[in-house]
Symmetry: D2
Subunit: 273 residues, 4 copies
Amino acid sequence: LLKETETTEPQTGSIRDDITVKEGDSVLLYLAPRKSWLVKAGDADLHTHAGIINLKKIIGMKFGQSVESSLGRNLTLLRPRLPDKIMRIQRLTQIVYPKDMGLISALTGLGNGDIVVECGTGSGALTIFLANAVSPTGRVYTFESRRDFAELAAKNIRKAGLEHIVELNVEDFSRKEKFPFKADVAVVDVGDPWTIVPQMRRALKGSGFLVGICPTFNQAEKLVTTLEGNEFVDIGTYEVILRPIDAREGRTRPSTRMVIAHSAFLTFARKST
Amino acid sequence: LLKETETTEPQTGSIRDDITVKEGDSVLLYLAPRKSWLVKAGDADLHTHAGIINLKKIIGMKFGQSVESSLGRNLTLLRPRLPDKIMRIQRLTQIVYPKDMGLISALTGLGNGDIVVECGTGSGALTIFLANAVSPTGRVYTFESRRDFAELAAKNIRKAGLEHIVELNVEDFSRKEKFPFKADVAVVDVGDPWTIVPQMRRALKGSGFLVGICPTFNQAEKLVTTLEGNEFVDIGTYEVILRPIDAREGRTRPSTRMVIAHSAFLTFARKST
Amino acid sequence: LLKETETTEPQTGSIRDDITVKEGDSVLLYLAPRKSWLVKAGDADLHTHAGIINLKKIIGMKFGQSVESSLGRNLTLLRPRLPDKIMRIQRLTQIVYPKDMGLISALTGLGNGDIVVECGTGSGALTIFLANAVSPTGRVYTFESRRDFAELAAKNIRKAGLEHIVELNVEDFSRKEKFPFKADVAVVDVGDPWTIVPQMRRALKGSGFLVGICPTFNQAEKLVTTLEGNEFVDIGTYEVILRPIDAREGRTRPSTRMVIAHSAFLTFARKST
Amino acid sequence: LLKETETTEPQTGSIRDDITVKEGDSVLLYLAPRKSWLVKAGDADLHTHAGIINLKKIIGMKFGQSVESSLGRNLTLLRPRLPDKIMRIQRLTQIVYPKDMGLISALTGLGNGDIVVECGTGSGALTIFLANAVSPTGRVYTFESRRDFAELAAKNIRKAGLEHIVELNVEDFSRKEKFPFKADVAVVDVGDPWTIVPQMRRALKGSGFLVGICPTFNQAEKLVTTLEGNEFVDIGTYEVILRPIDAREGRTRPSTRMVIAHSAFLTFARKST
């Protein structure tokens, strides 16, 4: 673990190199803040207000390099990472924001091998995040009662390449008597989370974490009081306020606008038995 | 992926069951909010203000069950998860808080297989978080110039069981000419992060993420202006404000106290070439 | 109004001069942030951890000058202003904070001549603030059902020298049928403000402002829905978060601690008829 | 001061009655949140998306009553108060927001009789607020070096009816050697407030308050360090974050949008001599 002044030889050559764009690769073309396009290398020309970009020309370039548009603008070829994909999924529902996903992951300590149960798949944004967090040996069992949401979520999860981690159940979670697993973490993103606390208890291991995502104070309050009455311990509710800062030489300040001033209250609790 | 009303048979029996406390297991004894103790099953009696707890008696119990203290108080046996361990490591330095770790993970999309370089290991709290996030096939190359910090960090990382993921270099990062890896994500937690931007560029893949952790706005400003002058794109700075909520029946409100009102500004950027 | 380069002669000589400390004057002895003492010039010696201060010696000095303690520490003679007095009143109740008083004043446009009705005098802190704001020709009618609170408030209001502006009624506001005034602004600082909305309507002029101070969101919600059902318009609820900033050369940042992370939600509405 | 169950007879009959709209009166026609119009009773018809409103018809009505538009919509006749006027002044500059005005007033304890000096009149919004706060016997000496700003401010101050309280100097404050007054409170709203600290000292009484309004961290930092070097004491910097709350039955939460996420840092200090 502890090295002196020499670092070890890398295990594989691949970790030494920049990555080459191959045909069919997803590429995030970055022009400016909030001006970027997620494309596929090799597809037809992309037309933007900054000119036309030839998506065949980018094959063979390295991620990090720039391509010039027909109007002489440079766009950087960024390698899409998880949040680039999540924030661009097709949606039928409000999705959970990265600021909230981050706290869920950090406070529950999500990691490889964890079994997660999710109630309320919605468009699948959080499902994708959870599946990535428990990869490669964990599993996410997610439940969605509306078929249209479930079908969209399935499409989004497949696009993210995480279908082998996820089992998506088109089913009314509130009627569920038995679960063929015991989860380390249960995440609830439905309008009335307090109604399914008994199901959540059954789906959770002893000591497992329950996380509730509630847009309103009223929901958070009902969830917390129900958890208190159902032998959950270590209960805490938080709001994550993400404050963008405009950092510029000699005139740095918090941004004057905040696009997401509030999303949800996050409640955390652990199952005692 | 998409299941109808029947869930699959679990892959292994182990995911169906509650977990039994075995001798030598870490156990978090939970009494009340901010009143919990991280112990080892089988160790000598634990003496607390709530009475004495016999740590031999808990062997064979299930996580989630409660043990009674000599004063008749019940303590829940919680299975420690990553944040329980991280927040209790031995420290010589200020550590990064879960609220900030979460945003780093969520905005960079950290996951299994990622190569991470960290400058400023400190006590190793963030190193442990990053190592868990990229497990089992990723790797964290961390650099710390102070031997005392590095030795403590090594001890903490080993205790977290993540030493196979981490390479800890006792070395002055700012003098580093070559790196035997190219990282997907670089994390800088030093006092003058702008001075090592060239080294960070060399350690990063094209399109890789740089994350800077800066307590003051002056540091964030200098880091951002340096990144702008060094071909980084998609630069953004954020502060995570974690607001605790007191959810109680009929009288829910934000907590009147906030223990951590500010920790750091987090800057994110991606390397163009 | 619009002057060119010459300013007018002051109306009176008194506005040209520093102010001399006279016997019996209130003086705020300032040593350091949160280390100051409100004293009376001419009183017996003040004993502090920073030494003894002779309060006779300060008579005849100018406000702004410093006095030396027996231990050689300098304390500045500050002339107490309203918040210095308000924050030091004797209390039997939680008081409204300056951050919230300020918003009440700014959003209702309180000024000289306004008639204010206040329900829930408590210790009188807000009463003093309101009385100062409507001085010298306005009036504050305040109601407190608990005699012990009212007596303390009367003492505090007299000490602030505002007794000629205030009429303090020891009376159950909720049973009040008629008011011998019509107020421009009504301020409610009781636990169940929604129960006295009809009384508030009777005490208010058409178009007058109602302001409710509610620690919990449950109270704010009930107040707002009751106001909506009672012909109030232009209803808005706000929380004032006062963020202290540590401004120091080269290392400026939000303070790591926030003493008052939440006090109350403030609801504003105007009476339609 | 302390009344038992009988309230005093009102001093004048006028404080018992609702107020009648007279020809020429300013009236705020309120339709819905952020849908209101400041008009003069007796003026020509007002055309809005909610129909035409006859402004002659409202003469003789009471404030608080509603007038019907040609499309059958009801608009409440609100009596404009100070913030209604301030937020609608004609502007050539960014104006100070009520949330910040409120803190300035509350922390300095502004009141009748205070002498205020303001550097940077701008469009006069803050000047109007300050003049109202020190009415009827106080005075605001305001300085603006740009004639166009000063002329607009003069117009705005006259419209607010506060010209007898204000002396507006078209003059470069930074070259000012002598002041014919000593102020209780000095307010600085210019881009480089630290450059005029010596002038501010000369314009202030001993123990007087200086308030600096700085949009950026950098300005606040320079102002604070300059004040520390110029014998100011009790120095503090704050940011007021005004959080709008959507209070609705059963689904109350912080608003998802925040129009003003940041305006300025406010620095407070007192002059020692």
